[in-house]
């Protein structure tokens, strides 16, 4: 029987240099693996692999040294513990995320929740080239989201309530954009300088600064041989429905404008970003 490598690759089986041997990539979302999943992964690595796993650069798990003849047994064994194979090749890959607002004091959004929703919406979708999503919970950007085709950064849409303010000056100290200054006892907020990082909200002792979760989106990033940094083409995105519309419009544009095997960043270098920017602004404005 001829081995259908493309089908295997679509199913997460990476051909190794050793004949008829595969490193099996697993489906992970936002780097979260449950204890139940770990147990079955351990069992498969012991029984069918070489007793270890490899953690990939994008929060994935691979089980190396799976034999061709064991593939069906391995899939069945993993399925019992709720583990699915991942994907490789020209499609939507593992969605990465930091722990975000669920655990991290700095988090402005629930990055894992957004990652799960993006994964449910797009994972495995066939495209001209691979496509990566990454979600980071705040401006600290632990997840390095600009290296993704579609990177999301958590932000706060901030507002100031003078009545609650005790004029301690902390917010002006923590703001890295100089968006907050004092004229005597009066706080001046220059919104045009604001990066929506939310540091003022996090530090204000009296909650005079309030923040509502929001998103900044960066498009067309990639690492590898030729590094391109994702670019922000939309203004602050203030709700999840808008985020998903912008993501839909981005993927549709990629699907229709990229050449086979061409990463999104390269497409945008070829075509410029004006047309896409117009489309995304329209998608964001739609209500």
């Amino acid at each position: 029987m001829a081995v259908d490598y493309a089908a295997l690759k679509a199913g997460g089986f990476m051909r190794q240099k050793q004949k008829n041997t595969f490193s099996l990539r697993l489906r992970c979302v936002g780097g979260t693996v449950t204890a139940e999943q770990l147990a079955v992964i351990k069992q498969v690595a012991d029984q069918y692999g070489h007793g270890y796993i490899h953690l990939t650069a994008r929060q994935g798990i691979e089980i190396p040294f799976i034999k061709l003849e064991d593939i069906d047994d391995v899939k069945a064994a993993l399925a019992k513990g709720g583990v699915e194979p991942g994907v490789c090749g020209p499609r939507v890959r593992t969605v990465t995320a930091c722990q975000g607002g669920r655990c991290c004091p700095s988090g402005c959004i629930d990055a894992l929740d957004i990652a799960e929703k993006l994964d449910a919406r797009y994972f495995g979708r066939e495209l001209p080239c691979k496509f990566k999503f990454g979600v980071t919970g705040c401006i600290n950007n632990c997840l390095k989201m600009e290296e993704n085709d579609f990177g999301v950064k958590g932000a706060y849409d901030v507002s100031y309530d003078e009545d609650a303010c005790i004029h301690c000056g902390l917010c002006a100290k923590v703001c890295r954009e100089n968006a907050i200054t004092f004229e005597g006892d009066t706080l001046i907020f220059d919104e045009s300088k604001c990066s929506h990082c939310g540091r003022c909200v996090k530090s204000c002792p009296t909650d005079a600064w309030k923040g509502k979760s929001a998103f900044r989106v960066f498009i067309g990033g990639t690492f590898g041989n030729h590094i391109i940094t994702g670019k922000e083409l939309t203004p602050l995105i203030k709700d999840e429905a808008t985020l998903m519309r912008v993501a839909d419009a981005t993927i549709d544009y990629f699907a229709t404008h990229s050449k086979k095997g061409e990463r999104f960043g390269k497409t945008l270098e070829r075509l410029g970003t004006d047309e896409l920017q117009g489309i995304l602004e329209a998608a964001a404005a739609e209500a």
């Binding site: 004091p105 301690c168 000056g169 902390l170 923590v174 530090s203 002792p205 009296t206």
Partner: protein, 85 residues
């Protein structure tokens, strides 16, 4: 809120002699020795401490009353200890 001044605060902790993350730990230990409602002045350096320690103290459920800029590169944060959980 009535203006509060440093002289009204009985308890002191100086965290200018330690670096992060011990800054916060030292402040936390000092707070633990107090009763709910007690006041303490946390003496800290400009830079990372003043940007991060107040926020951590707030997250622990204490009330920040005032930040006094000593104009010498240090600050005193006046904190009222919160209720025990």
């Amino acid at each position: 809120m009535a203006e509060i001044s440093l002289d009204q605060v009985e308890n002191r902790v100086d965290i200018t002699d330690v670096v992060c993350p011990v800054t916060f730990v030292k402040a936390k230990v000092a707070l633990e020795e107090l009763d709910p409602g007690d006041l303490i002045a946390v003496h800290m350096n400009d830079g990372e401490p003043v940007q991060n320690v107040p926020r951590s103290i707030k997250e622990e459920g204490h009330q920040i009353l005032k930040l006094v800029d000593n104009q010498d590169g240090t600050y005193d944060l006046i904190v009222r200890k919160g209720e025990e959980e």
